[in-house]
Symmetry: C2
Subunit: 352 residues, 2 copies
Amino acid sequence: MGINYNWVMKTNSSKKKRPSMKDVAQQAGVSRTTVSFVINKVPNANIPQETQDRVWAAVDELDYRPNALARGLRAQRTHAIGFVSDEVATTPYAGNMIQGAQDQAWIHDNIILLVNTGSNQEMKKTAVNMMLERQVDGIIYATMYHREVHPPAEINQVPAVLLDCFVADRSLPSVVPDEVAGGQQAAEYLLQKGHRRIGFISDAADVPARHGRLQGYKNALAANHISFVPEFVFHGTSNPNGGYDAAMALMKLPVPPTALFCYNDRMAMGAYDALRKLNLSIPDDVAIIGFDNQEIIAAYLYPPLTTMQLPHYEMGKWAVNTLLQLINNPDEKQFSPVQVMLPCPLVERESV
Amino acid sequence: MGINYNWVMKTNSSKKKRPSMKDVAQQAGVSRTTVSFVINKVPNANIPQETQDRVWAAVDELDYRPNALARGLRAQRTHAIGFVSDEVATTPYAGNMIQGAQDQAWIHDNIILLVNTGSNQEMKKTAVNMMLERQVDGIIYATMYHREVHPPAEINQVPAVLLDCFVADRSLPSVVPDEVAGGQQAAEYLLQKGHRRIGFISDAADVPARHGRLQGYKNALAANHISFVPEFVFHGTSNPNGGYDAAMALMKLPVPPTALFCYNDRMAMGAYDALRKLNLSIPDDVAIIGFDNQEIIAAYLYPPLTTMQLPHYEMGKWAVNTLLQLINNPDEKQFSPVQVMLPCPLVERESV
DNA sequence: TTGAAAGCGCTAACAG
DNA sequence: CTGTTAGCGCTTTCAA
């Protein structure tokens, strides 16, 4: 179990063989070593230019391409990074994370092996084993929203970093959005615009994002000597319907808020509808700030939504960089693996 | 150029070696051959059960995992599929395509090597070369919207299929959405609901989706003996603003349409705003149907948007299946590579 | 039924 | 400066 059977060699293939280093050597009239040296630009090989030219000419002529499998086998290094994530389809953020990782991998001439496992724990384990079999140099374990995870133990057999998630004992490097700072900045932005009564439309789910953003909101209030009004925070399901209900409830308070900080853009979308229903204009009657910067929502609401951007691209990038660091310095033991929180930049549009 | 230098072997690593087949053989007191036979469940090896058990016990004990690199090198088959795409981040569809491909690859014990190249042609070439170096069994060349492509010639060195795109000479298998059928079904749905004056809010860009959907719209009209009114099609930029303008223009016609078929959901989003501005209710005054089924928009507009779904997941799946087919039957020459159009199912919500 | 040995394509001591 | 050679870990023929 966990082993893939039947990778039988197929003998009836008619694929024409690709040139090997031997062919190049022959063509150039040198030995394989020489070819290897010039192709890899080995520092102290001192191959005369003329020979080098011959080799490169042969490479061109034969359309030779080194076999990464053989290289990896020999070098014990594949320049491949496993990317194990819970799901990519169901969230619009995934793309940015993967792209950040991919772009960075590309720069360092690494490739990404991608597996999406869904939420099935057994599949995650199999996925990690699969990557290990394929001799990845390291593994990125990613989730599509910030949360605690329990990766399969096998992950420790190679350098690994956590992307948008963390383990309770902090034994693995991790990068997540700085929810608190983001929440604080959002609230402070509203404060700075003169608002004193700020509603917080919160997700009902027990996730770090919710707690962090709410904490940030409270921090901002405290920093500005404004007392926290429990009635101003309203929990709902984290979609437009929840946002609608919450905004409705908040605006019907005897002394309603003049600004709404929404847990995410989807809730903000619902809040827009509620305010419209109440004939309240944004931002004149009520200011709104969201979170996540879901382009497709935020940029095209009327008025366009001011919101906090989740640093998915940056996190993906960070994950690869950190992983490469670990891979390249296997001897530096990490006694306390770095836990990074990346800022959520404010995206100013017109709803505040 | 095109060759990756300096994959130098690092000798100072302190990584502890993973067990090899030899270790397992030793542990089980058999030869490597025997281990290979039992692990691969070779049909006619006839290894006594008792020996097999010993081998499996050793595998467990050592936590042995076959080295896919060595296997691939030997078998000339890696069970890896290259996925080259233009971009994943900027579109919310990408996820579904990748997930479809990934899920299917997983089922067949294959892995996806992912590279996003952006629009740079040189990078695409490098990406394909990279995949070839890594000995992928085949390549999926994908775009994030339906269009014609010019993949680098190198792609022909392995089985390849095109995902959401096609080449002019149809020399590569390809899968795209059936825009015409989708457009036709959308229009027919409106027709069937009693509408006779249907506006078509079109993208101004010269892409297959636009032409196909418009053609479908015309087909539906013709099939129902309704004459095509040129004034009813209005071109705009394919975003909410464009949709807004188009809807405004259309509704101000002397005899305005009673239904709007929008090129995509984002334009529909703008049309919603226009109708709201005009105090027209959806679907009672004007029915709206979109295209793409961008979940986040379509499901949460008020009222939820009826639209046509782009079959991204299915296309990803199809691409992998077809590619695997090609890989497994290298001898069946494909004189006319299959060109598939997958249907765009109707997603009924409440805007019609 | 099991083992020895060749070789997939590459790198890097070591010799010359 | 260039070539010979020994593996990296695996599969598979061939022989025992």
